[in-house]
Symmetry: none
Amino acid sequence: MRSDFLHQAPKTGPGRPRNRETHAAILAAVAGLLAEGGYPAVSIEAVAARAGVGKQTIYRWWPGKAELVLEHMIALAATMPAPDTGDMIADLRIFLRATCQAWIVGGTGAVVAALMAEAQVNPAFAQLFFQHLIGQRRAALREVLQRGRGRGDLSAGQDLDLLLDMIYGPMWYRLLLGHAPLDDGFIDQLLAGLGLVRKGGESANTPTLSG
Amino acid sequence: MRSDFLHQAPKTGPGRPRNRETHAAILAAVAGLLAEGGYPAVSIEAVAARAGVGKQTIYRWWPGKAELVLEHMIALAATMPAPDTGDMIADLRIFLRATCQAWIVGGTGAVVAALMAEAQVNPAFAQLFFQHLIGQRRAALREVLQRGRGRGDLSAGQDLDLLLDMIYGPMWYRLLLGHAPLDDGFIDQLLAGLGLVRKGGESANTPTLSG
Amino acid sequence: MRSDFLHQAPKTGPGRPRNRETHAAILAAVAGLLAEGGYPAVSIEAVAARAGVGKQTIYRWWPGKAELVLEHMIALAATMPAPDTGDMIADLRIFLRATCQAWIVGGTGAVVAALMAEAQVNPAFAQLFFQHLIGQRRAALREVLQRGRGRGDLSAGQDLDLLLDMIYGPMWYRLLLGHAPLDDGFIDQLLAGLGLVRKGGESANTPTLSG
Amino acid sequence: MRSDFLHQAPKTGPGRPRNRETHAAILAAVAGLLAEGGYPAVSIEAVAARAGVGKQTIYRWWPGKAELVLEHMIALAATMPAPDTGDMIADLRIFLRATCQAWIVGGTGAVVAALMAEAQVNPAFAQLFFQHLIGQRRAALREVLQRGRGRGDLSAGQDLDLLLDMIYGPMWYRLLLGHAPLDDGFIDQLLAGLGLVRKGGESANTPTLSG
DNA sequence: GACTAACCGAGACGGTACGTCCCGTCTTAAG
DNA sequence: CTTAAGACGGGACGTACCGTCTCGGTTAGTC
């Protein structure tokens, strides 16, 4: 019944049907609070007050504030386009640069980091977070890689899941630590370090044993 | 005055000197609470009660519960040995496997993840966390790499900071997500993916462009 | 339309007629909840859930939970017989002992006390409570007294309303305080204290000025 | 530790001592809310807000709002003087008239009625209510009667507890029902009905068997 | 040896948010 | 048009911790 972003059947039986406007008002309040004070500014009480809604109405549909924010982030993530230029390397550049842009410029980085934190402590939420947000991003990136493999841009034996970890891993690491930039140069260095460079190109930074 | 793990001068003037046993009791209480209920079980009130200590005594020395836990983790991390076998690849394997062991088997993974979360939201703490815990681990790993570079196991032009990100990144990513194991095989795959294999070895999973 | 125990006209117009079984189910639910947890256990939501009825159905016929409980108590009170032995003192004894029995043994005392409380705060309910429950009991007792006066057991000038207060007052007082028993002996003492003893009897406890 | 009106020792051990002003502010807030909206206007949240106090501070010292109001009423009741004119009948008149005055004119009647209600439902509170408020009033009235008995105004065999019930009972009954006035005339009728009239006086309303 | 300063336990305090209960109103589909 | 179901805005509950603030009572150094 709960967790609206699971697209559960919109109810069919008797009883007053769910008010879609209320639902929208709640998510709008979440968006506003995130914009103003980030994740820590989001509290069920603040959302209820800002949305002009009873707290119970929120608890009826979401288990807690993490899921509330998650639904908002899922909606945002769904707007990110998946590039398909015919060139895997180019697609990767576009895709990953857009991700970093959203994190740093769009300000979503701090929010997903906070959700990641919540997931460490709340197993039920971790399930939803990984499945619906992380999983969605991984699937999108995997599609780019898979398309590349189909065109022969990637060796057939390549373990895609490992590769996903080796791409997203350093990106998340920099997001969380903030010790180094998440800019276009970083993406290029990252891809180069993984050997993902255009045919015939040079990858000076590729780590190799000497000689 | 604050943040005991910064090794501030132990004070000389008049007045009752600091009680070292009290300090130890507080950290012991933190350890106990972490063991029983993880990071969320740690609260200043719970620590004070368990240590038989006034809350003010805690606030006198630490800004909050995150720093309290951080000091405990720093003490743990300090016990991890830095291998030096003369073979960089072997050293890396030993070092990284030990790290994963501590996270997964030792149960510290969830705690550092929670600290990482706290750092997202608390800039003052982030400073300490990155400098004293993350920084210490990065320095240790960098030393292994640097030693390798000195012996010619690594090309001179290699950007060590980038390499650190590309090693620690995927490890942290798996720690936080828990979607795939952090075992010995993963470490080998990771190093292979970065081209960090013994001279003459095969790295079947290295991503390369076809042909 | 409201307050079913007011015997309002049972409706004649078009539309689905009122369901008598629903009405009974609601009162049965009230009775069950009273038995299990007393007055505080009765809530509109609990009654609706237990009766398998919509809350609106309850609100359509009763203004609130107090009236709901009141109707239940009225039904109970209606079963109490009015004695008529030909001897006023005997009638009083029978009547008042039965009242105390219902309160203490029957467990209705706590409920009427709670209704009395509700009446202090809710004037609309007070009106109904006094008229239909208190009033009914007063009328029954007054009839006993009046019959006695008709037979000459009571002086013609006696103020019956005052007498009612002086009989019911101490009884309610003991019910509410619970500091002393509401047993047969108390009834005898009470009547004796009011001079209501059989002709020629002794009333040792009658308070009189000395001499 | 709790229930301040029990005059518990004001704490001796270590720790910040209780703030008397806070205590006074809370009771003042209770008084204000009672004056403005009666017992139903008193809620822990409202008291805390009006007194500028945390809710926990209230719960630290009182179990709930009933005890809070009780303490206020005890303070009020303590101000009622006990008459001692040398004439028991006169004393009774003064005492009981003052009681009714406080109830009706002073507006305390509704409050004590509400407390009586709470006591029906909350045994722990009932204990306190009966002991500290009801008990105090009964003791005061008993003293008047006892003094009278000492002077011979009352027969030695009179059961004082019964007499207290027969005086307070009708008064409370009228307070709670509100069906008849609680005025000076009522007090006179009541005392007359109990045979408590001045030597040589007439008590027309004394119920007696005819003849 | 008295003074002084800081430490320490205990715990009161104002405050924020939690998650729950129930209120009385409303809005639907089914009968 | 009634009914069961149940969503909704709202108010209050009692709890958990937060970080600050007194207290009384140590426990050193310095004068």
